[in-house]
Assembly symmetry: C2
Homo-oligomer: 199 residues x 2
């Protein structure tokens, strides 16, 4: 069958390796790309090469951008004294979609994970400490993920900032807005109770 053949199997593997793409979806995508007209199939290949050659990391915040510094870092209407630290570019996009945040960002490009050999040097921690120290920064918001690695990274950064006398905060974790208690998992509920605020 077609996916036993080497070139088709290689394409299937490359698609299957993408995040959130299961074997069935990858097969469907591969068959589409193999059956489509030349122009459509090569468009993906060319678009990927062009994007890879043009997109860089912002030299200030680390966000993916085609113009350095990125549109957020070069926006003078934003509060450059407020830095929200996220693990990945997707975090910036998620918070920007909300539309209410007016500060700037810092993308770590990962989280601390000693088992996989990811320490501060593999992330953009040095650059963050430099930004936090050098500029008129009022507050660092730690918005790393609510996972073991994200929490460890937040703890590590909190200590680094506190020795430098920079104010640090952590985003709230709890029951999502509009979400009933019955849909929240145990850990989220426990966190929501622990983090209750007085009215």
């Amino acid at each position: 069958m077609i996916f036993d053949a080497p070139a088709a199997a290689r394409l299937l593997d490359a698609l299957h390796r993408l995040p959130g793409i299961g074997r069935r979806t990858a097969e469907r995508m591969a068959l589409h790309l193999l059956s489509a007209p030349d122009a459509e199939a090569y468009e993906l290949s060319d678009a990927l090469r062009e994007a890879r050659s043009r997109v860089v990391r912002c030299s200030s915040c680390g966000m993916l951008t085609e113009q350095d510094p990125c549109s957020i870092c070069s926006d003078t209407r934003r509060d450059h004294g407020l830095i929200c630290v996220v693990e990945h570019p997707s975090g910036v996009i998620a918070i920007e979609k909300g539309g209410s945040y007016r500060g700037v960002f810092h993308v770590l490009h990962g989280a601390l994970n000693p088992l996989e050999g990811i320490g501060p040097d593999q992330l953009t921690v040095d650059k963050l400490l430099e930004r936090a120290g050098g500029e008129a920064v009022n507050e660092i918001i730690l918005a790393t993920n609510a996972t073991a690695e994200g929490e460890a990274t937040a703890m590590y950064l909190m200590r680094q900032m506190q020795t430098r006398g920079v104010a640090v905060s952590r985003i709230a974790h709890g029951v999502p807005m509009g979400g009933g208690l019955e849909y929240a998992d145990d850990v989220t509920l426990a966190h929501a109770l622990d983090g209750r605020t007085r009215l």
Copy 2:
């Protein structure tokens, strides 16, 4: 933001155009491809180019293959007098996964759709009629989809075959095995009742 930039937007569009890929999944894939190490990102681009250059349509059945004729058409243990007609290569893969079919295939690469200008000449109908006439073919099984276009294509092929005196059949449509009646839609249920078989 990154997807407002031209090269990143082009990549996002190319991914979003793939079947079954919504905007959110395409964004996730694009961010991964833009953040990943060079080797991983270019692997998809290269794998796609290589697959496109190596994969062809089988000159006999039209299935995608890297060796012409394909592994099914060149398998002498299969019944070459039994041809199962499907719309797309995915149909061949689905039936082969079942493992019980021992005949060969014919891939139409689409279905009749006059509104979109797809007539018999845009499909591999001529080749099918040639195969049905020239070889010792006992039966043509029409396994086009149970859509308006698939049904119209089956009707058209049935008439073409009957004028040539070739036996034609249509795969059964009804309630899926293991599926309760309550999960089947009205059209499927009506079809299952009409197509009942005596015990």
